[in-house]
């Protein structure tokens, strides 16, 4: 590894180390009154990490490749259901189910990608067709017995490392962080690879890319497959964390929206964009909820999402390169 290569990965390693050290700060954060208790902290962090992972998936096809999907729920849900159904119906071990869930998610991505890209759908049309696929999956999952229909699927609570269910909340935090960390490194690797360069070229100008020998269909297919597989892992982790899925969670529009909002708010087509975006969105959303709660004396549904929507519009209007773009512009040069 040359020093230049190391320099490219150093910020990522630092970020991972900082995140891994976060549990040390928990007593302080709790005593400062920011969190009600250690569990509140871990639950929020785990949720942020799961959303980050889903968003990192979206960012591969959407951010680097410019293929805006409005239906990443199709992949998240496939991962979530596979993880649940393989365990409950087929007695597969949770650790063994996870790679299968990832592969199935990737497969769904490849099939949708093949259909959409062969039909030369792009821009709004691609967004619409992915949205429609996610909806079809949602309706099917709601109506077929294998997924538990409208009642959903409950994974039995059996604490134990073998079941990927942990007594200590920090354990699941580190598991989720592990996946996020791997994808952070993977994304940097992608940026510095031939595939990554071709993927960005496809985003910037397909005709010019083809003239330079880039097989755009293959590049886009690989990207959506990888993208879907990563988001499917997020779904599988969701199942393991909450031990329950139904059609509206797994294939609901909410996750399609979160997966796309986080990278756009954080910084589209960048390694850290999804993480920064997820932290900003969920952090601000929680803050808004708390604020409104104390102002009105009771919880008001939807305020966090109002904040998401406003943030999206504000970012598009004033910071098209996301929060990361703002940080870079502010921090020197």
């Amino acid at each position: 590894m040359s020093s230049g290569t190391f320099a490219a990965y150093r910020p990522i390693l630092i970020a991972i180390a900082a995140l891994a050290a976060l549990p040390l700060a928990v007593p302080m954060l709790v005593s400062a009154g920011l969190f009600a208790g250690a569990n509140t902290f871990y639950n929020l962090m785990i949720f942020i990490l799961i959303i980050t992972l889903a968003a990192q998936g979206w960012n591969i096809a959407g951010g680097y490749g410019g293929q805006f999907s409005f239906g990443h729920a199709a992949f998240f849900g496939t991962g979530a259901y596979a993880q649940a159904v393989l365990q409950t119906r087929y007695g597969v071990n949770a650790w063994a189910a996870l790679p299968v869930a990832m592969a199935l998610g990737g497969l769904v991505g490849a099939v949708i990608g093949l259909l959409a890209f062969r039909a030369r759908l792009r821009g709004s049309y691609f967004a619409l067709v992915t949205l429609a696929f996610a909806e079809v999956f949602r309706i099917l999952a709601n109506a077929t017995p294998i997924t538990g229909g409208a009642a959903g699927t409950l994974v039995p609570l059996r604490i134990g490392f073998g079941q990927m269910q942990f007594e200590a909340p920090a354990a699941f935090f580190y598991l989720a962080l592990g996946f996020v960390a791997v994808v952070l490194l993977l994304n940097r690797l992608l940026e510095r690879s031939r595939f990554g360069a071709w993927l960005v070229a496809v985003r910037e100008n397909e005709d010019a890319a083809r003239a330079l020998g880039v097989d755009t269909l293959t590049v886009k297919l690989k990207a959506i497959t990888l993208s879907a597989a990563v988001t499917a892992v997020a779904g599988a982790l969701y199942t393991q964390k909450f031990l329950y899925v139904d059609a509206n969670i797994a294939y609901g529009a909410w996750i399609s929206v979160e997966a796309l909002l986080a990278p756009i708010v954080g910084g589209i087509g960048t390694v850290f964009g999804p993480l920064i975006g997820a932290v900003a969105l969920i952090g601000l959303g929680e803050a808004a909820k708390t604020l409104i709660h104390s102002a009105f004396g009771s919880a008001v549904p939807g305020v966090d999402l109002v904040v998401y929507g406003l943030l999206l519009i504000v970012v598009i209007a004033f910071a098209p390169r996301g929060l990361i773009g703002l940080l870079r512009a502010g921090g020197g040069r």
């Binding site: 031939r194 360069a197 985003r203 100008n205 010019a208 083809r210 003239a211 330079l212 020998g213 097989d215």
Partner: protein, 246 residues
């Protein structure tokens, strides 16, 4: 190296390229000239695989390549530039060129090094800046550099000199000659007659989709049919202006 046999392209009722046959000998710089709307760019899109011909065949090194996709042709060694430049606006100059370089150099370090070398050959400097910030002349050089980075045996240059001022043209002519001298065959569309006269060994003239003349630049310029084709389309002024540069 390149043989075009009876190539025809129709857009609805319009025949943009009509029964055109020509050859480009290996190691040559061959010109393709003609008035605006003659079908020159369309001929390029057919040869480079962006559109499929309505009739006719294209042979490259004896192999029939009609209807192959641009990406496969790039692998075979045919590169093209775009008349309307198509930079990857969000990328740096070096990254733009590297996209082409990756075709022959799968590893990043090699691709970057090759891209840097190609940039030097075409005279591009300040490679870290965004491609969007380049001047017209810079963008034309970038088109050229990207095409060269793919390691082509034949490059199709579509008006790389258009929009440049006389001194910029003078600067780039030796670059093009050096590319040929390095063993790359060139077929170039050009309106700037001074460049055609000084670079091309052989010139084909297209008008209304048909090939109306061929020969050395001097022969072609003296050919009454050619002059008429240009005059008929009101482009004689440009012809004279081009000649006046020399």
């Amino acid at each position: 190296m390149l043989e075009v046999h009876s190539l025809t392209k129709r857009f609805g009722g319009l025949v943009a390229v009509s029964d055109v046959s020509l050859t480009v000998p290996e190691g040559s710089i061959t010109g393709l000239i003609g008035p605006n709307g003659a079908g020159k760019t369309t001929l390029f899109t057919l040869v480079s695989g962006f559109q499929t011909p309505s009739a006719g065949r294209v042979l490259f090194c004896g192999e029939d390549i009609t209807g192959r996709t641009p990406e496969r042709l790039a692998v075979l060694g045919i590169a093209r530039t775009f008349q309307i430049v198509q930079p990857f606006a969000g990328l740096s100059v070096l990254e733009n060129i590297a996209v082409g370089a990756y075709l022959r150099f799968p590893h990043r370090a090699d691709a970057m090094a090759h891209a840097g070398a190609v940039a030097e050959r075409v005279g591009l400097t300040d490679l870290g800046r965004p491609a969007a910030s380049l001047t017209v002349a810079g963008r034309k050089r970038l088109e050229l550099a990207r095409a060269l980075a793919t390691g082509p045996r034949l490059v199709l240059l579509d008006e790389v000199l258009a929009g440049l001022n006389p001194s910029e043209i003078r600067d780039i002519i030796p670059v093009i000659r050096a590319i040929r001298d390095a063993g790359v065959t060139i077929l170039m569309i050009e309106h700037v007659m001074q460049a055609v006269m000084s670079l091309c060994e052989h010139v084909h003239v297209l008008a209304n989709g048909r090939l109306i003349a061929a020969g050395t630049p001097a022969e072609v310029v003296g050919n009454p049919a050619v002059v008429e084709a240009y005059l008929g389309h009101g482009a004689a002024g440009r012809l004279q202006k081009g000649a006046a540069h020399g």
